[in-house]
Symmetry: C2
Subunit: 277 residues, 2 copies
């Protein structure tokens, strides 16, 4: 009997699901953080704990019988992925980024485009059984339209408004007041991680502030152009994921078919695991 | 008899000049680095060494007779400026940023706008005896049109070109090849300081590459809009400083009177020192 393990692991937690040969989920488990670029040993322990909990719920199967696909934050760091691979006891193990399993879960077996718009941003195109990732590339040089990049743009705009280069708005003034004026904004910028810039994103996409609307309009235009490029004249369905996904979907409706995700990243990991045999 | 001391100090060295009551320079000196936010004790020692060398050349005056204005990198860090102030033996001491002395030197007593376009960027407007600084704000949130920001934009564009979002160009391909492809560009971006991003600026402003021209056109339009805002309907002369200054001056000629700088940052420091009494 074949059993399949799907893992979806990130900076906050790790989820596991076991499926039988028919694809039916027979056990699930959860544990703590599993970002392998941060701490591979802790990630490994939490992956095993989640897998064992799922096996226990299933009441059958053993770790060395599992065909496993793990979608993990930090899996783009090749050394960390190789190190984890050597530590895992599964019969067969494939490690991919959590972006790959999220996109696979969102599309299932269908052709389509996934736009994951969270703290960062990344795109994927699936045609047939081929999936390719685009964009991402991080806070400083890429992550177009992401929450962190929108937050940074808001702080820049607040500084420009304080100098009179662009009109002041209620949100820009609020940000200046909250962070302690120009000096406060600059020192926040020097120490903040991307997730801290992204804290401002909900206030940007909420609408109602002229500066926020200008910034979000510009991001929406950029993401539209990127998806048009990925469509390459086709009319593939587009699935938006992430905390800002619904806001982009709302603004871009009517351009292409926009679909809800078929399943989660955990579903995507199980889907890929069943393709392994 | 009154003597005046001007100091122009930055990360690479410190220059000093002594002038008599008529404004004539009677002695000059130089020494090592004087960035007070990096190392205030070394900066203080180098400032005193340069001042003593200038006094020696002048053959008259003593440190405790000097009215001094110091234009120093890092002087925007208030704690460092106050610490240095307490360590200096001059009769009267005023510490300002090197951007202020550079702008004062460039304009002398004239009304005008200074656009300093180097690794970073900063603007100043002088009307009557009032000078105000605008922009700057650093690599992450400001420094519009600067060499470091242009270099970062080039690396972003190279990543987008590699994904097919924008057309590849010879310069973008060269940058990808030199830095080791997508992974190399991303890891360069994560470790590079602003001055390292600025290394790419001369190739961007040189012209001849379609991607570089697009990026520089966009920066020129941004700087034009910022200077138009600072003009506020006036027709003030504009002085461009810094390594990229001549490139912006060339592209923006005919819009406002563009002038060569009247003098250096050291001239600016002496000019301000004579205004102190």
């Amino acid at each position: 009997m074949s059993y399949f393990l799907g893992i979806d692991g990130g900076g906050t937690g790790c989820r596991a699901a076991i499926a039988d040969g028919s694809g039916r989920i027979i056990g699930e488990g959860a544990s703590g953080p599993a970002n392998i670029s941060t701490d591979v040993k802790t990630a490994c322990a939490n992956i095993l704990a989640a897998a064992r909990a799922a096996l226990e719920q299933a009441g059958r199967g053993h770790v060395d019988e599992l065909t496993a696909v793990l979608g993990l934050a930090g899996a783009n760091v090749t050394a960390a992925a190789l190190s984890l691979q050597s530590m895992l006891p599964f019969r067969r193990t494939r490690i991919v980024t959590d972006a790959v399993t999220a996109a696979t879960g969102a599309l299932g077996a269908d052709d389509g485009i996934v736009a994951a718009m969270g703290t960062g941003s990344v795109f994927a195109v699936q045609i047939g059984s081929e999936m390719r990732q685009y964009g991402g590339r991080g806070f400083l040089l890429g992550d177009e339209g992401s929450g962190a990049v929108l937050g940074r743009a808001l702080l820049s705009e607040a500084l420009r408004a304080e100098d009179g280069f662009v009109p002041m708005s209620p949100l820009l003034q609020a940000v200046l007041d909250e962070l302690g004026g120009i000096e406060g904004v600059i020192s926040f910028g020097l120490r903040a991680r991307p997730a801290e810039f992204a804290i401002f994103a909900p206030r940007i996409v909420a609408g109602g502030d002229p500066a926020a609307e200008r910034l979000f309009d510009s991001a929406v235009a950029e993401i539209r152009a990127m998806i048009d490029t990925l469509q390459a004249g086709r009319d593939l369905p587009v699935v938006f994921l992430g905390g800002l996904g619904a806001h982009y979907a709302h603004r871009l409706q009517g351009l292409w078919p926009i679909r809800a995700p078929k399943g989660s990243g955990l579903d995507g990991a199980l889907h890929l695991a069943r393709q392994e045999v």
